[in-house]
Every structure is written in structure tokens, then in C-alpha cells.
């Protein structure tokens, strides 16, 4: 069961209320577009592209939460909280959240010897597409003026 930003504010002090900010939402979404272009750039390493795909999803999640009137606080695990609350907001499934969160876990892995492979990037790109499609539909349905 995914938790909302309000629940996570109560349970983990993970969010604070903030005014909806059209410019900020646009900036997050533009940054996400830039990052996903980076993820598709075959001229850079798979590891860099993998991280870019994650960043793109995270920026969209921040945009969703800002549109809902929340900002993330820098508590431990705040990236996971942002993804979870944003997934719930746009009605993404638990499975989608778990795959996004798995990409986050892998991005954070710190050990030597194993590099990212095409399958990793493919999986990260695919879950980004799912989340991005849901978020796009959600913005159109709930906050169309923020996109103009």
C-alpha cells in the first residue's frame, strides 16, 4: 500500500506544505525532458544514461508533488518518499513504484567491479516511460493550467 505525502509527513516528517508554483513545476518538467534526452544519448556511458533516466523520473515526481502543494524535506530516505508519494498521486501501481525504487537503490550502490549493462538501462527507461505517461495524464486531468 503506497503512502501519500500527507501520511509520510506524519510518519517520517518527509514533506512540508508549500504553495503550488507554476514556474517550479515547469522547471522540474523541463529538467526531466533534458535528463531523458541524456538517457537516450548513446555517446555517453550506460551508467550515466541509467542515472539520467532515474533523475528524469525523480524530477517528474517533484513536479507532481509541487502541483499537489508539497515539498520534500531532506530527511534520510527522502528520494524513496518522493517516489512513493508521487506514484500514489498519479495512481501508479505498487509495482511501478517498486521498480522506480529499485532503480534508485541500484543508482546508490557503491562498490567496485560491476558496470551497468543494456538490460539495466532498458528496465530503467521502461519504468520511466510508465511513470511519465501516468504523470502526464494526471497533469492534464488535474492541473492543465500548470502545463501552459
Amino acid at each position: 500500500m503506497l503512502r501519500s505525502a500527507k501520511q509520510l509527513q506524519t510518519e517520517a516528517n518527509a514533506f512540508a506544505v508549500c504553495p503550488r508554483d507554476k514556474l517550479a513545476v515547469r522547471a522540474w518538467l523541463t529538467a526531466a525532458e533534458d535528463k531523458i534526452r541524456d538517457a537516450d544519448n548513446v555517446g555517453v556511458s550506460l551508467g550515466t544514461r541509467f542515472e539520467a533516466a532515474y533523475d528524469a523520473a525523480f524530477f517528474i515526481a517533484l513536479a507532481v508533488l509541487n502541483a499537489e502543494g508539497w515539498k520534500s524535506r531532506s530527511v534520510e530516505g527522502h528520494h524513496a518518499y518522493v517516489l512513493e508519494a508521487a506514484c500514489l498521486a498519479v495512481a501508479a501501481s505498487t509495482s511501478t513504484f517498486e521498480r522506480l525504487d529499485a532503480v534508485r537503490d541500484i543508482r546508490n550502490q557503491k562498490y567496485a567491479g560491476v558496470v551497468r549493462v543494456e538490460a539495466d538501462l532498458h528496465d530503467a527507461r521502461r519504468v520511466f516511460d510508465e511513470f511519465s505517461d501516468l504523470a502526464g495524464a494526471w497533469f492534464l486531468a488535474h492541473h492543465p493550467t500548470l502545463l501552459k
Binding site: 517498486e98 529499485a102 532503480v103 567496485a112 567491479g113 539495466d120 528496465d123 519504468v127
Partner: protein, 199 residues
Amino acid sequence: MPDALKILFGSQTKARVLELLVSRSTESFHLRGLAQAAGTDPGNTSKLLATLVESGLVLAVPGQPSTRYAINPHSPLVPPLRQLVIRAGALMNELRAVAASLDAEYVGVYGSVAAGTDDADSDVDVLVVGELGVVAAQTAFKAVGRKHGKSVNVVAVSAATLSDCLRGDSAFWASVANSPRIDLKGAWNDVAQREATAD
């Protein structure tokens, strides 16, 4: 999957209570809190605790509003019991069930959990050797990790990559190869021996 602890200890109540006390060895519990966390009947749990305290395996600390119970860290039985609980307890059983479903020839736990040096905040480190991607492997263990309040960190490599890693000059892979592991699927010795000697 059979409940090995229940089979070994002879009752569901013994298995769950000892598993809880050993796996959360830095905590103490009131009777009702312990029974609730273990999913056992308070009456049977109370009788069991009396015998465990008498045996010296569990400490009863008088307190308000009621006595608290904790595993006795000085009991010589606790270290082997802890190894047993780690290897045959609910967490490992559920990890095994996930491992069985993966398209992998080997899955195992390494690091502090396998070595028995973990604490309540320790992650569970899992190695997957197979052709599936690390995102899929990491995702597969999410539900178990969430249920047990544990971060499960997966390293997924193909057999060919494992071969390179084992022959490389890597402290990480030397540690994986030479430290305790708990096999969840397949046998480490089979995979490692084959890959270490592969051309």
C-alpha cells in the same frame, strides 16, 4: 515451503517467539506486545516464556506496568540459535521463495547477515548470478524487504561477469567469495568453482 523452525522447535509458538526474540535481540517486550509481534496466543506465550526464563535463554526484567522479556545475550546457546534462526527463519524462507522464482542459477545472501554480525539496521545483501537485469532482481525482493523492515540490496551479474570478477583483483569479490554466505538458490561452490576456472 515447510516451516523449518516450527519443525525443529516442535510448535508454532516456540518457533515464532524464539525467532522474534533472537532476531530483535536488542529489544525487550511486554508479554502482550511480544505475542502480538510474534503472532502467537498470549496464554501459550506466557507459559513458554516461563520455561525459557527458567532455562536461562530468556531474561525477565521486572518493570512497570509489567515484566519485560528479552533474549539473554550471555547464554551460550544464543549464538548458535541465532545462526539457526537466520538461516531457517521467515525472512530467509521468503527470500528463498523469491529466489526460486528468478531466472538465475545462483542466489545467495552475503555480508553481515550471512556472517551473523548484523544488527537491526543492517541491510540484507543478496547476490544474483543469472541473465536477468539488476533492476528486475532488485524489484523482486522489494516486497520481502518491506514486510521485514529491511533494505535488500541486490548485486546481479551474469555467470561470465562473475567469472571476470572472481579473477579480478577486487576486495569486494574476494570478500563475497571468502566470507560466509547463505545459499538461497543453487550452490555457491558449484558456480564459483566453475567460473573461477573458466577459460
